[in-house]
Symmetry: C2
Subunit: 425 residues, 2 copies
């Protein structure tokens, strides 16, 4: 595999045999694991598409090692992938760590030759998507992710700090083009045209897909969101904040896998989470073992969506009011009588625009999961194709509606209340 | 001067004595100048604030050498300035040269140790601002700058090329923070608050300035434009495209001095040129030697403003239709029946937004020249303070009107036709 274009001199894939001796040479890691390296146990547990993941248990603690592979794991060496994404992942963690506290794993070490990150082992956490498929409830997840996006977004924006620091990070993450290219193609382009990578539930959705690809207004709306994805440096965004990038327990919520990070519109992260909650909501009828079994759980999902936006909104606003020391709407300019009211109007409009962005990007993320290359287990796990297609059709209906009419919504309550009617069309 | 923070090892200011031997060691430059170096004549002609400028005449040709100084020349060593701006200037020239042809000077050599650019000598060109003050007409200047901004803007945007190339340039120009900081402070912040660097015609404009600084809506509009200045990467912009950065003859138009270049909103360049034409228009009554003497010339200035926007609009639209190969609104997505009409709607809206941006940024540029730190010779050259204040007040009135009501205008004709009435308020 070292013959792929992405491979680098000195790069070797780690394995369970050699991992211990490498970790033993890192004093802080060795101390954390505790005891003699011979007593450590190493397991490879990666089930993602892009990486090797090892869990190492020592007498003192456990740690996790994530190593980038030079190709898309699910596709094999025919789809090369830059190793540098490990660099961007740990750069993102480092950038947001001062602001989001324990909402990300602690990073203990980054190895630029191995493209490997040594970090906190999250246990007994599970991937949120699996929990949503299983119908489990995590009381704080909406609130926690709302708080997370508010903090990570606010503190990396022009609202919080001098632009010089933002420009420095923009330059660093501007190198993450291989991963951003995946988003550009798979989210904003391919789903809206014929492409061999696309797939959908056939023949049930053939007509829906043809309608979407002939809907010039929907395509123009998606393309406008795609243009802004590449043309706005509002905040450092995670870039892939779906329910598969979140690990949960009943009491804890963690954000992982930020290798798609770059400076873009904050609504993209907001929309990723909301869109994947709504995908889960659409999938529930297909996951129920009897009619109505998941009805209350669907309501719970929408409660989480509401908590997510509400907490994001309130937290972001509070941070802006109290810690708005950046170059955007500089405080020094707004110290006359009447300026406070004008600033509050600015803040309201800013958050209204973020709300519309959230719905628009949620729509893009939902559509690509139904008609594009990479689908989600929530829907793909529905074995009966006719039932799956009904769930997917409701997701497409909501997404297309949001793409074209997102500006009409002003509150999360009204937006969510309209979903049953829209999805039944 | 090498003790200032910006100074670098190996940096020496050039002088007329040493310049020839340095140039003689550059084969292409030596060949261009022709003859023996002893026959070359060297003159220092810089009258800007930031640089040393030498003209060198040889038997074959003349060349110009521009060297960055480590401080703001007009202020002296107390205001240090990064030498790196020479790097950004030549980087901008290199980036737009394939697209704008002879509208910029040819660059023959860049010396990264001396922070010096060896380039084409523009003769018999004069600075456009001086021509406007003198009441000279340059038949093509509006058309030429409209064409220039369309080409430089389009070809560095996501409309023209894959985002990877744009991101690469974004990263390069993201280092130009010292110059961008000047714009942020002097254009978007200081004019709207009390600051020791500010000045205005006293006491005549005291009341106008107090009104502006108490106008929360105008300040919020200026701050919103300032936020977008730092948060949109629409195109590689010149960053200082006023009438002092343009050299003209009756037949030729050249753009110079792009050291403020970075990725920002294209409306900033459009507004810089329009705003400085309107400043010249406001100044004409103060420059006339008898009442009415400059009336026809004022009409000519507005004709240039109209030609500028019209040519920009038509050129930009034609480029988009014919060379829109970028990631924004990707062509591959719009090949169904009806897509052409949708794309034309997108293009119309895009250009309408650019028009509003142009008026907004023009307003910001006009206001800072009347109440901020750096003024323009068009107005400063009016000796009688009462007369000057009347001209400046008309500029402030137009600018404040545009700041708050720019969205109401749809055509350049209506916008310009309204100026006499607005400026008389």
């Amino acid at each position: 595999m070292n013959t792929t274009p992405a491979a680098r001199a000195g790069y070797r894939t780690l394995d369970t045999g050699s991992l211990g001796s490498w970790l033993a040479a890192l004093p802080a890691v060795r101390e954390r694991l505790g005891g003699a390296p011979e007593r450590w146990t190493v397991r490879e547990v990666g089930d993602g598409n892009l990486n090797l993941v090892f869990l190492v248990d020592g007498p003192g603690d456990s740690i996790c090692v994530k190593q980038a592979l030079p190709y898309l794991r699910v596709a094999g060496p025919s789809w090369p992938m830059t190793l540098e994404r490990a660099y961007y992942e740990q750069s993102y963690y480092a950038a947001v760590a001062p602001h989001v506290g324990a909402a990300i794993p602690r990073v203990f070490h980054y190895d630029p030759e191995r493209y490997a990150i040594v970090m906190e082992c999250l246990t007994p956490h599970v991937i949120l998507r699996r929990g949503l498929i299983a119908g489990h409830r995590y009381a704080n997840v909406g609130r926690d992710i709302g708080d997370y996006v508010a903090r990570a977004g606010f503190f990396t924006s022009d609202l919080a700090e001098p632009f010089e620091r933002k420009f420095d990070r923009i330059a660093r993450f501007a190198g993450n083009t291989d991963l951003v290219r995946i988003s550009v193609d798979l989210i904003f382009t391919d789903p809206y045209r014929e492409h061999p990578r696309n797939r959908h539930t056939r023949p049930h959705l053939d007509c829906d897909v043809a309608t979407l690809r002939g809907d010039a207004a929907a395509k123009a709306a998606a393309a406008e969101l795609g243009r802004r994805f590449l043309g706005e440096t509002q905040a450092l965004i995670h870039g892939d904040l779906h329910s598969g990038s979140i690990m949960v327990t009943d009491a804890d919520t963690r954000v992982i896998d930020p290798e798609f990070a770059f400076y873009g519109p904050l609504g993209f992260d907001l929309g990723a989470f909301l869109g994947n909650l709504v995908l889960a909501w659409c999938a529930q009828p297909g996951l129920a073992s009897r009619a109505g079994e998941r009805d209350a759980y669907r309501d719970w999902i929408l409660e989480q969506a509401k908590a997510f936006w509400t907490v994001f909104h309130d937290r972001f606003l509070a941070l802006w009011r109290n810690e708005g020391h950046g170059d955007a709407w500089p405080a020094a300019m707004f110290r006359e009588a009447g300026d406070g009211a004008a600033l509050e109007t600015v803040r309201r409009q800013y958050l209204e625009a973020l709300f519309a962005d959230m719905l628009g990007y949620a729509a893009c993320k939902m559509i690509r999961r139904v008609v594009g290359f990479a689908h989600v287990a929530d829907l793909d796990g529905i074995a009966d194709p006719a039932l799956r297609a009904r769930c997917e059709r409701s997701a497409l209906g909501i997404a297309t509606h949001w793409l074209k009419r997102r500006q009409e919504y002003r509150s999360i309550e009204d937006t969510l209340a309209a979903l049953p009617e829209i999805s039944a069309r």
